[in-house]
Symmetry: C2
Subunit: 131 residues, 2 copies
DNA sequence: TTGTATGCAAAGCGTTTGCAGTGAT
DNA sequence: ATCACTGCAAACGCTTTGCATACAA
């Protein structure tokens, strides 16, 4: 990271404010509040830069393009609401994944993604509009 | 599924023979052994059809396009070797995922992806070439 | 004979890159 | 004054779709 720019600052601020993983499009919309001329290419370039500097972390969910969140959140996993498509962080993690492995395999890391209804969309509630 | 075709049969056979999740490109290459004129569009169309008929299951790993495997394998998860990039099925699954959820959230399903070294690539072994 | 399925090529879609101009240092 | 950064538009890679032809029924 070499220079401070309005755009980069707006992108990082958007991620901090959202406090959940955002898609590049979501970042674009949010950061344009501060920098209306912002282009999508700049969002992608800065997300990559910020990930490279470990200020931002890429959240890869199965079957969809990566989202991004601030990096200082420690080990956690993600919950995707099947009604509104928003993604939330979930804390602590199950232990004992090693025992799933066949003999001779070694475990380096793992991803867990949970799917269901979030508080807003649960049970009889009228779901929020998707994402 | 309405008609039997050589192409569809070749695609399904390739998946059965591989016994692990394959990318559409891998399916194309394998199925062309039986049907050399096969086109990639037909692979995609048939994978979608076969998934619709629950004969094939889409395996979505974080950060990469879906792979496909035969559907009659029951509940399991996946292990991706960080050296050779092959994906393996792993059996039984951890319980107790519900306790990860914040209050008010309900759990419908989950994905677990493990990463590490497979038997062939483990420890001091010279890794296989990447997929 | 009928109409689903196929192969090709063009179109989509999200992401990346080339380039000339902008602006932080 | 530099040169990293930006915005635009073109390029990319993977997947989907339109269309005329082929072939299972």
């Amino acid at each position: 990271m070499q220079r401070y720019t309005q755009q980069r600052n707006a992108i990082l601020n958007a991620l901090v404010a959202a406090a959940r993983p955002m898609s590049p499009q979501e970042v674009l919309v949010a950061a344009r509040e501060a920098t209306p001329s912002l282009g999508i290419a700049t969002v992608y370039r800065n997300l990559k830069l910020l990930v490279g500097d470990s200020l931002v972390h890429a959240v890869e969910l199965p079957g969809e393009p990566p989202r991004y969140e601030v990096a200082d959140l420690g080990h956690h996993h993600h919950f995707k609401c099947t009604a509104c498509d928003r993604v939330f962080d979930v804390g602590e993690c199950v232990a004992d994944l090693k025992r799933l492995l066949p003999a001779g395999f070694t475990l380096e890391r793992h991803d867990i993604t949970l799917y269901g209804r979030c508080r807003d969309c649960g049970a009889g509630a009228r779901p929020r509009p998707r994402r």
